[in-house]
Amino acid sequence: MDKGGSSTILIVAGLVLTLTLFVLNISIGSVYIPVGEIFQGLWSGEFSRSSWETIINTYRIPKAFTAILAGIGLSISGLQMQTFFRNPLAGPFVLGISSGAGLGVAILVMAGSAFGFTFFGGGVGIWATIISATVGAISVLLLMSLTAWKVKDSMTLLIVGLMFGSATSAIISVLAYFSDAEQLKTFTIWSMGSLGSMDYGQLQVFLLAILIGVIPVIVFLKSFNAMLLGETYAESMGVNIHRLRWAMIISTGILAGATTAFCGPIAFIGIAVPHIARLVFKTSDHRILFPASAIIGAAVLLLCDAVSQMPSSAQTLPINSVTSLIGAPMVIWLILRRNFSKEF
């Protein structure tokens, strides 16, 4: 907490990197637009071709902002969970929140053929997807809260979360088995994740959700530092564990739930980014780690999205596959590089 200087430099460097990746991100796509043209267009609001303006303004910029918000949401919920559970492998997927959202969407898309009834008239429009994902995430969240209220031990909560995740995955599999090919495809595409399906209206709602989700983190910032020494020490230093646990569940629920609702499941960002932040900033101080994770999360997801565009190709890869392909080796590397628990 005395190395404020170098941390500030790193934060500024991270912001510059994120900005660079933002520009890189919006300059990459199936249609080639010169970078100079983009700068000029953004500056003056006038593009030399109207198709470029449409591509940049209605597609690439919302997508880049979505990447930034999703990166922030997932990383911050991951960091909270890792510190609270004192478990380096904790992440939004672990509490079953993402699976809950997945279940909501699965029911929306596939329950029709499985049970013979449909929600939203069977339509799978974007808002229907978002609402059912949110409902799914909140349901799992309520179940988890109920457990958290009964169970005092955090490790038990973590295991229960894992079991909820497994159970929802199993229900999704059952639904998938009974649904027809078209619906299965719709769900599978959702489960691959997508950053590019949002308009400005949805982006505003997403931004609001992320801002609300970050509030508990800011309020309890000091408590997260005390939690580094474990629950009992934290309590002995005046931290109300009960309140902190609720704040953590609500915050991760909103952040990870909203992200999954708007973008579909995006793996590994929540687990890997807090570790990168610890590695780069070499600190355990959450006053630095939270902003650091947010910046790195945004940067990593911008980069992953740029990679998924497969420069100089008209194809795009599913974002969830890209984050998994980059994230999984990274977590393995972190584990092998040194004792994971020591890094923590």
Binding site: M1, D2, R86, V219, L221, K222, N225, A226, L228, L229, G230, T232, Y233, E235, S236, M237, G238, V239, N240, R278, K282, T283, S284, D285, R287, S341, K342, E343, F344
Partner: protein, 338 residues
């Protein structure tokens, strides 16, 4: 030592856990007083409920019955932050945050005193530096916790508790897993902190001899009996220390101030300087060598400069340069007879 003040007072506590209508009583008849400026050691066998007593004092597990007063007011009337400003702890829990530096760890002790961001003001910083100084750990200031030895880690944890700056400090087996020198250092450090900083310090420990040497007060806990409190030496003289030893085989020796095995002292004729005799006797005792077990008489004379041992028995005199050699000789002649 002039301003001794009772800060914690317990009367007829009944401790345990309540789950619905069911009550599990762990310990009963617990009455005590804790004074500032004193080091109190809580001793007792494993599983007797020492941790439950700590949890009660720490407000985590309120007593089922009885009164527990902190500075004259019921402990339950303090909220968590108030309590955190009064009581600090050192637990047996292992700290896993290897990225923390010692300075940062000790600064965390200021948590209950700082604002929501946890920023340290100059007074906080001074208290942190003082705590580090008091535990002689300045040289560790910028080290990471993963680089510390167990003994250093324990001192740093004490510094953190000291920085929390309460009147009462509770330590749960701070000397477990430590080597002999560190055990002495930690206990003397605690004694020094209690006296110079006028803190009440309560330590759970199993190190009877170090506790006897450093503690101002002893609390002895045993299964199903009231808590015994008093001056350590007083308890020794009243034969109360034996209460700790729930075994027929052991007793506390007033002479040596140590726990010893109840066994007939070897009736062997050992002569020589008094301070050497006890060690020869203790070696023979371990090997179960005595006139009774050997069923014949022999004597040992200890000679100094150079140290050697002369054994006299029915077969005559033999000289040995080491205890091992001497014991081998005695055992050999023993087997040859039987």
């Amino acid at each position: 030592m002039s301003n001794l003040k009772t800060i914690l007072q317990a009367k007829d506590l009944k401790l345990g856990y309540r789950k619905g209508p069911k009550e599990t009583v762990v310990a009963e008849n617990i009455s005590f007083e804790l004074k500032t400026g004193e080091l109190t050691c809580l001793l007792g066998p494993n599983g007797v409920g020492k941790s439950t007593v700590l949890k009660a004092i720490h407000g985590q597990n309120p007593p089922l019955e009885g009164s527990l007063l902190f500075e004259g007011k019921p402990l339950s009337s303090f909220d968590q932050t108030d309590l955190a400003r009064k009581i600090s702890v050192v637990l047996t829990e292992k700290i896993t945050s290897a990225n923390l530096t010692v300075g940062q760890l000790v600064a965390l002790g200021r948590t209950p005193h700082t604002g929501w961001l946890g920023r340290l003001n100059p007074t906080d910083k001074e208290i942190v530096e003082n705590a580090i100084k008091a535990t002689n750990t300045e040289y560790l200031h910028d080290r990471r916790l993963s680089e510390l030895s167990d003994g250093q880690l324990q001192k740093v944890m004490i510094a953190r508790a000291l920085a929390q700056d309460g009147e009462l400090m509770i330590l749960d087996e701070p000397t477990a897993h430590l080597d002999l020198v560190n055990r002495y250092e930690i206990m003397h450090l605690l004694r020094q902190i209690a006296q110079t900083r006028n803190k009440a310090i309560l330590v759970v420990t199993h190190d009877l001899d170090i506790a006897l040497e450093t503690a101002d007060q002893f609390w002895i806990m045993q299964c199903g009996a009231p808590l015994i409190t008093g001056l350590p030496e007083e308890l020794v003289l009243q034969d109360k220390i034996d209460q700790l030893l729930q075994s027929d085989q052991l007793y506390f020796s007033l002479v040596s101030g140590k726990v010893q095995i109840k066994a007939p002292s070897p009736s062997i004729d050992v002569k020589g300087p008094a301070h050497l005799i006890q060690w020869v006797n203790s070696a023979l005792k371990k090997k179960n060598i005595s006139t009774q077990t050997l069923n014949r008489h022999f004597s040992i004379q200890i000679l100094e400069a150079p140290l050697r041992y002369e054994v006299t028995d029915s077969s005559g005199k033999t000289m040995h340069s080491s205890l091992t050699e001497m014991i081998e000789h005695i055992q050999k002649s023993k087997s040859s007879i039987i």
